[in-house]
Symmetry: C2
Subunit: 177 residues, 2 copies
């Protein structure tokens, strides 16, 4: 069945502007849901492990994201998922949604290392990633990512964000196949 809905996977290393871009995108869509992977991850309180160290925790989070996505699509919404999503995660989710025949767009926002480090330093202390920021950058480079999913950003002004969001909406190169 053709559903006509789009699921946007907005990924990239920390500090690249995922939240800002996701919020802007979700506001532009007529029927939309916003899923923050971080928020969903932190629903787990006691007994939680770091998802990048525990496969079990990683799987729990992705099952939660999957079921929420399925429900929202079933109720007629586009879905914007804001999380650190590696190619293998995008692949898994895409397979799990195959029976829905939704369009999946996988976008990895990108900036150079210096920019990421500077933005990280601007965060409040509890939210700073520190070294993990650079580790993530390298992990993306080594993840076998198809470069068509990369979107370089600087997001210096609100105008830049509008431009980036329009590109995500209209450019079919981001489609996950």
């Amino acid at each position: 069945m053709e559903n006509g809905r789009t699921v946007y996977l907005l990924s990239g290393p920390a500090g690249v502007g995922k939240s800002t871009t996701s919020t802007e995108l979700v506001n532009r869509l007529t029927h939309s849901a916003y899923l923050s992977g971080d928020d969903i991850s932190h629903m787990h309180r006691n007994g939680r492990e770091k998802p990048w160290e525990s496969e079990r925790e990683h799987d729990l989070i992705w099952h939660n994201i999957l079921h929420l996505t399925r429900n929202f699509v079933r109720y007629g919404s586009d879905v914007v998922i804001d999380y650190i999503i590696f190619p293998k995660d995008a692949e898994w989710l895409s397979n799990q949604l195959r029976d829905f025949a939704v369009t999946i767009k996988y976008v990895v926002l990108w900036a150079d290392k210096d920019t990421l480090v500077k933005r990280d330093a601007l965060r409040i202390e509890e939210e700073r990633m520190g070294e993990r920021c650079l580790i993530l950058f390298d992990e993306f480079l080594q993840s076998g990512l198809n470069h068509k999913h990369l979107l370089h950003t600087s997001l210096l002004t609100p105008h830049d964000i509008q431009h980036v969001v329009r590109e995500i909406e209209t450019d079919n190169r981001f489609k996950h196949i």
Copy 2:
């Protein structure tokens, strides 16, 4: 199959201390997840209707809560759901979880009208419920609620909260059957 996990449904009219009590409870449990019905409801951004006016929106939220609960229980967590939950919602969720054989505790925190109105006035403006606060109070009274689920609170000091949370954990009268 006996799972051994408990799903806590923490309900009550606005201003009765659901969030405070839920947070305290979830922190006491060894393996726990915290689901805020309000947060889950607001994942829906554009196209969202008020869940108390739209059956469709209400159903979407409850399906999202259900699937998250099932996942967390499957991964070995207790679950605390903080939301305005009427007896028919508790009944529905309980039926949907029947194959899991979890224990379900349904607790409706309660305070007198004056207390609720006073607490509502203390909130920041965006979060104030105003008249709906009293409408909810009456709706609970008319909902056919079995009074064994009621728990009167005043929550004036941290000590009171500890006491309330211990009662929720240990008193079997709250079990939903």
